[in-house]
């Protein structure tokens, strides 16, 4: 199931609690403040700080 508008309204970065947004490919959620990308695996957002990838800023 794709990430819905309702979810994005209440979803926050688990680390800083700031806004996050879907990346262009739709396979990750980006927190610009923490420079982290939370991957979406099999339609499930993996919102684990330890498993987040560094975000380089080339997307969004």
């Amino acid at each position: 199931m794709p990430i819905s508008k309702e979810l994005l309204e209440i979803l926050a970065c688990p680390k800083c609690k700031g806004d996050i947004f879907l990346n262009r490919r739709g396979d990750g959620l980006i927190c610009k403040a923490c420079h982290l990308l939370y991957p979406i695996k099999e339609d499930i957002p993996v919102m684990l700080i330890d498993e987040a990838l560094p975000y380089q800023g080339e997307e969004g």
């Binding site: 199931m1 990430i3 819905s4 309702e6 979810l7 209440i10 979803l11 926050a12 970065c13 688990p14 680390k15 609690k17 996050i20 939370y38 695996k41 099999e42 339609d43 499930i44 957002p45 993996v46 919102m47 684990l48 700080i49």
Partner: protein, 223 residues
């Protein structure tokens, strides 16, 4: 109250590993030992259609599908730390045909939601596996995402009131894996400490397995 709670035996990593391992057979345990509490928790939560509900540690989704049934026009989020549990839950939830939900993988200490996002936060059998020192930080995180006036409903293995119930505490002392690392806890004193009120607590026993269902309310403007 805290000193009566036995020491937790598993680390966070061990918990994730064990619950990934028991995911395929978890429903058997869930139906045999937990169905009565699940039903009572849903009644006490009194979810109104249209509300935003979060279930923390949704496991294989046994409770989640019941929340969805009661809330066809609302929104339900479910989180768990085990990918295998979430995958199993998703298979079950897909069969409801409802689309007003999302599942996430996350650590309950760091919920990926904005402040005051939910009307109801439900959680079953989580505190009873975690160290006592984690209770307050986790409950504060639950409180953060709950709206003022929102309800928290917790179910945990608790201290037994009869000898049959106390057998389970004995099993935990001897062989914690037989109870998936759960031991008796009491959540209400911790909820009270962080400002919840209007409590309702019930003790329920199923096959002698002692659980408590606790509901508290977050005061408006209490952070």
């Amino acid at each position: 109250m805290e000193q009566e709670i036995l020491k937790a035996r598993y680390t966070q990593q061990e918990i994730t590993r064990k619950y990934n391992w028991i995911a395929p057979i978890y429903d058997l345990f869930g139906v045999l030992m937990e169905s009565k509490y699940r039903q009572r928790a849903l009644e006490i939560a009194a979810i109104r259609n249209g509300e935003k509900v979060l279930e923390v540690a949704l496991g294989t989704g046994l409770n989640f599908v019941e929340i969805l049934k009661r809330n066809p026009n609302g929104w339900v989020d479910g989180v768990d730390v085990s990918m295998k549990m979430v995958a199993k839950a998703r298979n079950k939830i897909c069969k409801t045909g409802q689309r007003n939900y999302t599942l996430h993988l996350c650590d309950c200490r760091h919920l990926p939601f904005e402040d005051e996002a939910f009307d109801v936060v439900m959680n079953q059998y989580l505190l009873d596996i975690l160290p006592v020192e984690d209770f307050i930080p986790i409950l504060l995180e639950f409180k953060r995402v709950l709206k003022g006036g929102g309800r928290i409903v917790l179910v945990n293995m608790t201290k037994g009131e009869r000898w049959l119930n106390q057998i389970y505490e004995g099993i935990y002392r001897l062989k914690p894996p037989l109870l998936a690392g759960c031991r008796g806890v009491m959540a209400q004193p911790f909820l009270k400490k962080i400002g919840f009120d209007q409590f309702q607590r019930e003790f329920v026993s199923q096959l002698g397995f002692p659980s408590e269902v606790v509901r508290g309310m977050k005061r408006n403007g209490s952070g």
